[in-house]
Symmetry: C2
Subunit: 247 residues, 2 copies
């Protein structure tokens, strides 16, 4: 598989960017590293002259940009999702340093039908907890502890540089027919768990959300293949059938 077809499996997603200049600078940054897929979630000001001006020779990236109203909709066919986060969260998530992407990326790129997303948060407030929990991994770009707030397009530049270096180092990738479940498949599985847990009164009445988040984290870390997802969902359906019979 050629370099450019590997790079085509990568999608950069900006969530609610406020400054059009950052959108243009991001387009330029990813194109500089050979990438082309950019998605915007509910951008404050786009299209705009400022974003096209700052894109310089990457105006084609902006012309082909995809726009969604929320992050979840944009992720439906994703098979591997990375969210960038500077802060530590209440429920710790599998987190990788930007220099440790190699192995996961290699595994993630093995299949033909993969779509790997890198999600970047708002300039001021980053990604919400809910958005971060849609991700399989969190990525932390190492910065100085006393001054960690990177400009949005600069964060994208670092990640796209690291990705280019990693992909350039991949000699050849076996083309396996894809059995990776998508974001959508995983969401169905999580909702299925949620439904059954509610039915069996499993939830702590005082903190039901905490349990669901931990189940979500478990599924994200597990990254089941399609067969495993089928087994788990079959198992949950079976429990439901038994419960229905009992009532």
């Amino acid at each position: 598989m050629s370099d450019s077809s590997l790079k085509n499996k990568i999608e950069f997603i900006l969530v609610e960017p406020s400054h059009p200049g950052n959108i243009g600078a991001t387009a330029r940054a990813i194109k500089n590293m050979g990438f082309q897929n950019l998605t915007l979630i509910n951008p404050k000001d786009f299209p705009s002259d400022e974003s096209f001006y700052r894109a310089k020779g990457a105006k084609d990236i902006l012309q082909n940009v995809k726009i969604f109203q929320d992050l979840s909709s944009s992720l439906q066919n994703a098979t591997l999702i990375f969210g960038t986060s500077a802060r530590t969260r209440t429920i710790p998530w599998p987190t990788k340093n930007s220099s440790e992407l190699s192995e996961i990326l290699k595994k993630g790129l093995e299949n033909i039908n993969v779509k790997i997303c890198f999600v970047f948060g708002r300039e001021i407030s980053g990604l919400s907890n809910e958005e971060l929990q849609m991700c399989d991994y969190h990525i932390k770009i190492p910065t100085d502890e006393d001054f960690s707030s990177l400009n949005l397009s600069h964060a994208v530049q670092i990640i796209s540089y690291v990705l280019k270096m990693e992909i350039d180092n991949i000699d050849s990738i076996p083309e396996i027919i894809d059995e990776t479940p998508t974001f959508k498949d995983n969401e169905y599985l999580i909702e299925h768990f949620d439904k059954v847990m509610k039915k069996i009164d499993f939830y702590d009445q005082e903190n039901p959300k905490q349990v669901k988040t931990r189940v979500r984290r478990l599924i994200k870390r597990l990254q089941p293949d399609k067969l495993e997802t089928g087994i788990l969902r079959g198992f949950l359906s079976k429990i439901e059938q038994i419960l229905n019979k009992k009532n």
Copy 2:
């Protein structure tokens, strides 16, 4: 030696930046990675509101910026100089990929009195041949071949990120008393060679500049220590004495 004192040995130099926004974004980019030394050569518009606005929390870097009228003046006490360059030049220079900095950097940081400079060229035209020949090494940031022109502050962000990763990986550095000659010492040596070569009519009459550039490249690649510089200059002086006696 602590991380921050290693980082303090690094200087970022922007040659004739035209956009004040790039100056501010550069200040933020280097501070994000724990660096603080910024030098501007003949900036078109500085200080300016735009540069301070774009610097965000890195206004202190701009307040302490050093300004020179030409690159050579700013390099006088430098012991190791890297110039960024996207283009291939007539006379090939020792060139490193941004991911291959590790070893040179480690060696360069060994001494107490080192000053390592990273020189970035103009937004449109980069560094001139003369400026590039002041550098010990050229650095190439790998980019897509079809779209290689990085935004200035984004190029600085990539280099400062790579430097941070390298420096964070250095466990401990022996503090050797410095015997590294500075840019100034090397320039004296190059000029000395030039003077003697002229005296002995060594130069190709049709292309004297070409020869001098090759001598310059040789000295840059050699990186003689102070003792070796002394030997070479002593040798040149001896030749001069003999020539003077003969006339």
